[in-house]
């Protein structure tokens, strides 16, 4: 008797299978989400209580080691989480394979660039 297969006929013909990246993507989206909870809450409270100052106050605020560290972690985890999220949205809505690849590459490059720019800027203020 033939072994029962869970694969669809179309799946068999294409023979592509899974790229084995799904679990890691899913897990990293959760991991970054869990990390973002305390980071976002801290940042909102810290920003709100520092509100209303000028440039000098803002620089002093970002030079505090805790604020700077939370900001770096928030930007790192946030951009990672947003990139993973944007990937899911693009894979859901862009059905044309060429355009999908183009969109994925563009979003990942842009997110990496923004992350680098903002992390560098935080460091340059915090260490000045």
């Amino acid at each position: 008797m033939e072994k029962t297969s869970m694969r669809s006929p179309l799946g068999k013909v294409r023979g592509l299978g899974s790229a084995r990246k799904g679990v890691s993507h899913w897990w990293l989206q959760r991991l970054t989400a869990m990390g973002l909870i305390p980071l976002v809450i801290y940042m909102v409270i810290s920003l709100v209580s520092a509100m209303g100052g000028d440039y000098i106050n803002a620089v002093a605020w970002l030079q505090s080691p805790i604020n700077a560290t939370v900001m770096l972690l928030l930007l790192g985890a946030g951009f990672f989480h947003a990139t993973l999220g944007a990937q899911v949205i693009i894979e859901d809505y862009v059905s044309n394979e060429n355009r999908r690849l183009l969109a994925l590459v563009a979003v990942k490059l842009a997110m990496t660039g923004l992350a680098a720019l903002s992390l560098f800027s935080v460091l340059s203020v915090a260490l000045s």
Partner: protein, 169 residues
């Protein structure tokens, strides 16, 4: 001459508009017919058809998580801008501060804060589902209402504190 050209363009635009409306109507009718045929032939469409499916708390809140996630990703551009301004010096930072202080800037930040609090609250709801909580129909609805209330409360709390903070600083 100009009058003739204008009316010719107007006539053309009218014809184009009406033929387009008619085309769209016919396409909708054809879609409905096709879906009807598929249902009769028991080759039912695979996913719930969003134009036919009744909007519910679950579906609306689900798409709102995606929309707020996307909005936050776009809004991160503004956060980066603010940080880069801070790193660029007092003059440029003062310019950005006037934009932030303008009522339109405040409106954008208010919208951003609503997106943060909705996505944060509903994100926690998502994580609780992943741990196996609130998976019953009542659980899904109850936690959905909790998320809506939490979004309101956190937004209100934040903006009341902002006014208090600006007042005292």
């Amino acid at each position: 001459m100009i009058g003739d050209t204008t009316s010719a363009i107007g006539l053309l635009a009218t014809i184009l508009t009406f033929s387009r409306i008619d085309l769209e109507r016919r396409m909708r009718d054809k879609d409905k017919e096709r879906i009807g045929e598929m249902i009769m032939a028991k080759q039912r469409p695979l996913s719930p058809h969003l134009m036919i499916y009744k909007p519910q708390l679950t579906t609306i809140m689900s798409i709102m998580h995606r929309m707020t996630g996307g909005a936050l990703a776009m809004g991160s551009l503004l956060v980066v801008w603010w940080i880069v301004a801070l790193a660029s010096g007092a003059e440029y930072y003062a310019f950005v501060q006037t934009i932030i202080g303008h009522w339109m800037g405040q409106l954008v930040i208010f919208g951003f804060s609503v997106a943060v609090f909705y996505h944060l609250s509903n994100g926690i709801r998502h994580l609780l589902w992943d741990f196996g909580y609130n998976l019953s129909i009542e659980g899904v609805h109850r936690s959905g209402y909790v998320v809506l209330v939490m979004t309101l409360v956190l937004t209100a709390l934040t903006w009341v504190s902002v006014w208090a903070s600006v007042w005292t600083n």
